[in-house]
Structures are given as C-alpha cells and as structure tokens.
Symmetry: C2
Subunit: 318 residues, 2 copies
C-alpha cells in the first residue's frame, strides 16, 4: 500500500491534506510534515483544517501551509484524510474528499472503517507520524529539520512524551532519526508539555483546595463549582487533565472530579490506578468509559449529594 | 577503558557499587542494573547506599541488592563509584573505596575529577545508564527485563522522560533496545513521574493560591510561608519543582518562588524561559546558579521586602 500511495502521490500535482476535526498534535504535526515533504517534492499542497490552529502548535515550521477550510471550490488531484477513524471525522470538509478523484486514508486507529480508495492503516503505530516517516522512506524523501520538528511533535504528543503504553521500540528508533536532524528536543518539549494558561493554573489551585482524601487516602475527590470556574477564569477546555492531580497522589486507587456545569448539571470524571473498575460506577448513572477512566453526568441534584452517592459506590469497590 | 574495566570486573570475585549520596533515579537504577548484570555473571555484588532507597524506586527489580552502608568491615575486590563527580559524593562510604584494591569511576559529569584507578567518564551520555549499557555490550552481558527496567528508569529520570536537552539520538536507540525486552513503559513512567505525595499536592495548592503575575504576566511570583508549609504537611524535599508551576505559565519569562525557612531566612528560587539571566539577580544577593535557574538566601528580612526588591530587579531585566 505504501508503494501504491507513493505512485499516486508522485502522479498528483495538487494535494489536500485533511486532519481530523479538533486536530491534536499528531493530526497537525503529521499533516504539516507531510505537506513539507510533498512541497519539497514539487507538489502544490494545502492542509485544510476544520478549526484554526491551536495556539500551542503555532511554532511548527510549515504551519503557514495550514488554513481553515472555507468551503471554496478548489479542486485537488489527491486528498489525504489523516488520523481519521471514519469519514465523520472530516466534518465540513467531507465534500473536498468526496469530489477528489484519488482519496487516501492514513491512520492508526484500530477501528478505522477503510473509507478511501487507498487505505493505509497501521494500529501498531503510536502516532500517524510513524506512518508518515515510513511513507517518506518509500518516497525517497529525507525529512529535514522542519519536517522532523513536526513529526517529533506529533509522536511526543500522541505518546505523552514516550510515556503511554502505545510507545514501542520503533517509536524510539524514529525519534532517534529525527533528533539526528538537529531538532531542539528541550524547546519542543517545553512548548508542548510545559505551557499552561494562567487560568488553568488557578483552576488547579481551586481543585487542590477542594481535595478530600477518604479511606486512608485510597479515594481522592475534588469538586469544582461554578464559582471556582469563574474565579479562575477557566474554560471547559482547561478542566482537561485536572483529574490526574487526584489520581497521581501516592496511595490513591480511585479518583473523582465532581464539577458543576453552567446549566446546573453535575459532571463526574473518574479514574483508577490498579484494580477498581470505575466504568461500573459510571454505568450506574448511565455514564460510560473503561476500567481506568470513566465519567457520567447527572441532573437535578447538587455536588454534595453526588459526592455522597459516589463515595458509597467507590468504598464498595475498594 | 571499557575493555580494561571489563578485564578487572571479570577477575574480581566481589564487587561494591557506590552511587552518590542522595541517590536519584539514574544513580540507583544504574547501580542496580549493574548489580543484576554482574550477579548473573557470577559475581558477589552489593550496592551500598548512603541513605535508604527513596520510596519511589522500591519497585525496581533487584533493589534488594541495595542496602544502607553500616560501616561494616567487609572487603571487596573491586569498588565502583557511580554517578559521582568527585570523592566527596561518596559521603561516609569513602573508606570502602579507599581500602578496595581496584577502584572504578563511572560517571557522566563534565566536572568529574578522575579520582579512581580506572576512570570511565563520558559527559556526552544523558545518564550513567547509557555507559552501563555500553559496558554490558563490552562484557557480553545481554540485559534481561529486570536490568532493562532499571536502566530505563535511570535514563527516563535523568532526561525528564526524554525531554531535557541532554537527550541524544543514542539515548533513544538505547531506550528502543530496552523496550524490546518487554518492559512496561507506561507502568514505569507512572511510577517515576506521576506519583506525588498528598503533602506535595497540598503545597502545590498553597503555592498557586499565592501566585501573583506582574508586567502583563511576564513575571510570576509565588510565596510559601512557614504557615503554608505546616498547613500542607510538606517537607523541604516537597518544594522541589514547585517553581515550575510558575515558570510554565504561558507568557511568563521570569518566575520566582520566595520561601520562608524555619529559621526565619528567606530562600528564593528563580527561573527564566528565554532571555532573562536570573543568575545576575541571584548574584546581587550572593546567590548562584546559571542563566535559566538560580537562587539565593537572605537573612534578617521578610517575604514582602524580598518580593519588592526582587520585582524591581526582574522588571529591569525584561
């Protein structure tokens, strides 16, 4: 399939690259890296996004090749859906894909539906960037420093900095090759991992202030009220990952973040470290998730009552 | 030198491994990995520590070969100082080194004083674990899963999870080889990076509560009083890294943590991100450090006054 895609890309004059909606580090980094490589090979390339580039990825060299799709009528010889498990992940850009004569699907989700003329799906890859690296090899494209920065960013993002279980020995071999181009690993890491908005830091403080430990420190619960959200100036997006503060406390097995939403609903995030199946607790309240990460939303109650119910559930599972 | 050390280790029957005082992930991980390798090669090996193993490294396989040195009279054929820049880093264990007939110094500090009969110092290595990996190659020792867990822990610790500027392409090649043994990267990463004591989390909350931004958010200052330390139940050790909360805020160039010590002294930690030379500010108060990380301690004043002086200094450097 690598060979077939190489053939088609070599034939094409203009190429559209379409990462998934709400593009993350792998989607954007891999798209821009591919755009750099194909541009250098003489192609006219556009990366078409659903939303504007998240601030954090503006440092990527070549990011100027990415723009928000504005429903224009431009035609391309070839379109690549990148990091999209299915066609819905293209959002409003689906017409671009539908009307392009040659379509390619490059992805690593095991659930990929195989929706293109040419499907290159490898779930063993931690990031789509690993597939782009292989494609470059096949096409005879040697990634320079700019493409390497994009690919490294993509891989570091999707592996949590080589920490998640998707990290393989191949991931490190590719990182090694990318570093040989002279990229500044410390600077990239600082940009993607160590930059937090003032509002998020204040939200972390609010969450920690609310922290309560139960059952000899095996259960940790944080509550975030509407008032706390307002005081910190945090947005919904800023609540991402806050639950990990509770989960990462030594001795904690089950962690919960109980959050009051603007409409009065109560949203609960649950995490566990070793043996508690938090999806069981979540499903009791029509929520979902898996053993180590789950959640649910309830209406017509308050944070105190939810906390009481939840503690009873979690205590029973220790 | 690798070859010479291999020869001497092959001849030796009993070997003492001495990591530096206040041993960290690299010192302990590399020591235990070397102990595992040498034990499997039929040697009698002891890892002698200055202090007991920090809780966080108790999961390392082979850690039972490490014990706190109790000034016993045992004799060894060969002693290895590991990750020690000079002999002072051996603390109370210096007599062990002095009375052993063959001494080896394995280190990566550029300032290493070359204090042993056989000095193997490579400052290009991100961690001593990289040197141990090379030594194993030379000795024909193939690291199994247990030694690999120790070496991976050592490398991940000293590179901040492959994020610091000391990370090279060789670091990733070695990580790749270690992963091939089947180690659980996610579990190790969770243990070394994502485990925080309840007291430290509370201290983070106290520090965030005190956070003030100045000069359009380019200066961030946190203050930690004795009362805050008591409320959180935190120890001195828990203050490690707290300054990064301030430094990592988007838009911040210079960050300070002002801390009241038990004896009334005021200790200041300084960090910068891109251009402010915080060592200049520190040297004004007889402190030290380098451009991006520095600190100083002053007596006979209070946190408010220190904050005022420091803000004036930092404003002048923006």
């Amino acid at each position: 399939m690598l060979k077939k895609i190489t053939e088609e890309m070599t034939k094409a004059g203009s190429i559209a690259i379409l990462p998934h909606i709400a593009a993350d580090g792998d989607a954007i980094g891999s798209s821009v890296a591919l755009a750099i490589g194909l541009s250098e090979a003489g192609k006219e390339v556009s990366v078409l996004l659903e939303e504007k580039v998240p601030q954090i990825y503006n440092f990527l060299p070549g990011i100027e090749m990415a723009r928000v799709y504005d429903a224009d009528d431009r035609k391309y010889d070839l379109a690549v859906a990148l990091d999209c498990g299915d066609l819905d992940r293209l959002g409003s850009r689906r017409p671009v894909f539908d009307k392009t004569p040659v379509t390619v699907n490059i992805d690593h989700h095991p659930t990929n539906t195989g929706f293109a003329m040419l499907d290159l799906v490898d779930p063993s890859c931690a990031a789509v960037a690993e597939i782009i690296f292989a494609l470059f090899r096949q096409m005879g494209i040697v990634p320079g420093k700019d493409a390497a920065i994009c690919l490294y960013t993509a891989i570091a993002s999707d592996t949590g900095g080589f920490r998640y279980s998707n990290t393989t020995y191949v991931t490190h071999i590719i990182a090694s090759e990318l570093i040989k181009t002279g990229i500044d690993v410390a600077e990239i890491s600082r940009r993607i991992f160590d930059t937090v908005s003032p509002a998020k830091v204040r939200l972390m403080g609010e969450a920690i202030n609310s922290l309560e430990l139960y059952e000899d420190g095996r259960i940790a619960v944080m509550t975030v009220s509407n008032a706390a959200m307002r005081r910190s100036g945090a947005s919904d997006e800023d609540t991402d990952g806050i639950i990990n503060i509770a989960r990462n406390i030594s001795g904690v097995e089950a962690a919960a973040m109980i959050r009051e939403m603007e409409n009065g609903d109560i949203k609960v995030n649950l995490r566990s470290n070793s043996y508690v199946d938090v999806s069981q607790a979540a499903s009791k309240y029509s929520g979902g998730g898996h053993r180590r990460a789950a959640g649910f939303t309830v209406s017509g109650t308050d944070m105190g009552k939810v906390m009481e119910m939840l503690l009873e559930d979690l205590r029973g599972m220790l």
